[in-house]
Amino acid sequence: MNDMIYLDYAATTPLDPRVRDAMLPWLDAETHFGNPASDHALGRRARAAVEQARAQVAQLIGAGADEIVWTSGATEANNLAIKGALEFRGLKGAHVVTSRVEHKAVLDTCRYLETQGTRVTYLTPQADGIVGVEQVLAALQPDTALVSLMWVNNETGAINPVEALAPRLRERGILFHVDAVQAVGKLPVDLARVPIDLLSLSAHKLYGPKGIGALFVRKRPRARLAPQIHGGGHEQGMRSGTLATQQIVGLGEACRIAAGALVEEGERLRGLRERLWQQLQALPKIHLNGPADRRAPGILNVSFAGAEGESLRAMLPQLMVSSGSACSSATREPSYVLRALGRDDELAGSSLRLSLGRYTSEAQIDRAAAEIIAAVRFLRELSPLWSES
C-alpha cells in the first residue's frame, strides 16, 4: 500500500504526526486525564491546555480566545450557528439567505428551519461556482436575519467573496455565518479585519483529529446564540458537555502548525495543482468545474466526458479520490453541487474531485495524472457514445 496516492484531503486529512504527539499525553499520562471542569490540580491542568488551544485557534483566524466555542465538529458548529442565532432572536418566521451548494449540514439545517416557519432563499451560484456579492444583496428582504455562506466550496474549491460581503451585511444589521471548513488553514482568515459574526471550522480538514471543531462567535458586536446542547453550562453556556482535552489540544496544535506555513504551503499546492491540470490537458473534452482563478489552492474538480465516474474511480485503485463530496457519495448520486452549477447528469457523473494536501508530492501528481489519463482513455474507448469531435 506504499504506492497509494491520497488525493482526498478535502474529505479528511491524515493526522499530522506532530498533532498526534501533542495529543498523546492527554490520552496517556497519569497527570493529564482530568476533567477540565474539575476544581482540582488535574482539572486545572486540563483546563490550562484547553485554554492554550483556544488561543491557538483564535490566533489562526484573527479572533479573541473568548470568541471560540468548542463543538464536536463542523456539523455541530453549523447547526449551532444557524439554529442558535435564529432561536435566540425568536425569529422563527424570519428570512435566511444561503446557497444551493452549501455543505449538507447547512442545507439540512435550513430545510429543518423551513418546517419551523423560516423562509429560506437558496442562491444558485454563477457558472464558475461562486456566489457573488450582488447576488446575495439582491436576495435580502426586510426581515432577513441571517446569511450563511461557505468561504470555500468543498467540491469545486470556489472561493466566495465573503470578505467583501461581510461589511455590506454588517451595515444592514444582518448576521453573517460562514462555513469556513475548507478555508481555515488554507487561506488567510482574519476576523479582526472581516466583520463576519459566526464562523465554523473543523479539525480533521486541517490535519487535526476527527470529532472536534469550533464555532467563532463574535463578541463585539456580540453575536448571541441560544444553546443547542444544554447541560452543565460549559463554553459560556453555549455548548455543554465534558471537553475532550486530547481533541481540543489536537485542534490547537493543528492550527498552530497551519499558521506557520500558510502562504508557502498555499503556493506549493497551487503549483502542484496546476501541474496536474496541465498534464490532464493531454485528454480532449475535459471540463474544469469551478473558477479558474478564485479557487482554493488544493482543489481540482474535473469532468471527463465519456468516462462514467464510478468506473473511473474503480480504474484508479492506487488513487484515493472522491467523486463528489464523501458525504454524498454513499448514495452514488451525481454531485448536487455540480448539478447546481448547470452540469448535466452525464458530466456531473463523470467528475473527479482531486484534492491535494500537505503530503502530496510532485512524483505523486505525475503518477496520478498518468493513471487518470490511461483510465479515461480506456473507458472512452469502451463507450458507445464517445467520439472525439
Partner: protein, 129 residues
C-alpha cells in the same frame, strides 16, 4: 491485474470482466447486427453486436458507458452469445444475469439493461433482413 486493486470490493465476477474485458470492441460488415439499450442521462448505455455465420454467432462484441457492473454485464452477454445456442438465449433474463455476476440489489438495473439489449437483439433477428 492485481486482485489488491479491487479497493471498492466489487464481486469477483464483475471485477474480472470490468478490468479485463475480452469482448470489448466493435464489428462492421453485412453480417453484423447491432442493438443498444439505456441512455446517457441515466449514465448507462450498452451496445451489443454480433456477427453471424449462418445460424451461428461467429463473434460477439460490446461497448458500454456506465458503472463497472454495467460494463461487466456487456462482457458477460458477449461471452454467452458466443457460447450458447440461440435457443438458450431466452433463459438469459434479469435473474440469470444477476446470478451469474452476483449483482447486488442496488445494481439490479444493470442486469435489466442487459436483458433489454438482448431482447432487442432477439427482436431484430426475427425481422426479415
Amino acid at each position: 491485474m492485481n486482485p489488491q486493486d479491487n479497493v471498492y470490493a466489487y464481486r469477483e465476477p464483475i471485477w474480472q470482466r470490468f478490468r479485463a474485458p475480452r469482448h470489448a470492441g466493435r464489428l462492421d460488415g453485412a453480417q453484423v447486427l447491432s442493438t443498444q439499450a439505456g441512455s446517457a442521462a441515466t449514465r448507462s448505455v450498452l451496445r451489443l453486436q454480433i456477427e453471424l455465420d449462418g445460424e451461428r454467432v461467429a463473434r460477439a462484441r460490446f461497448r458500454a458507458y456506465g458503472c463497472p457492473t454495467a460494463i461487466a454485464v456487456g462482457e458477460w452477454l458477449a461471452e454467452q452469445l458466443e457460447a450458447r445456442p440461440r435457443a438458450a438465449w431466452a433463459a438469459i433474463d434479469v435473474a440469470a444475469i444477476r446470478d451469474a455476476l452476483e449483482i447486488p440489489d442496488d445494481k439490479a438495473h444493470c442486469a435489466l439493461l442487459g436483458e433489454d439489449v438482448l431482447r432487442a437483439l432477439q427482436q431484430q433477428m426475427k425481422q426479415p433482413s
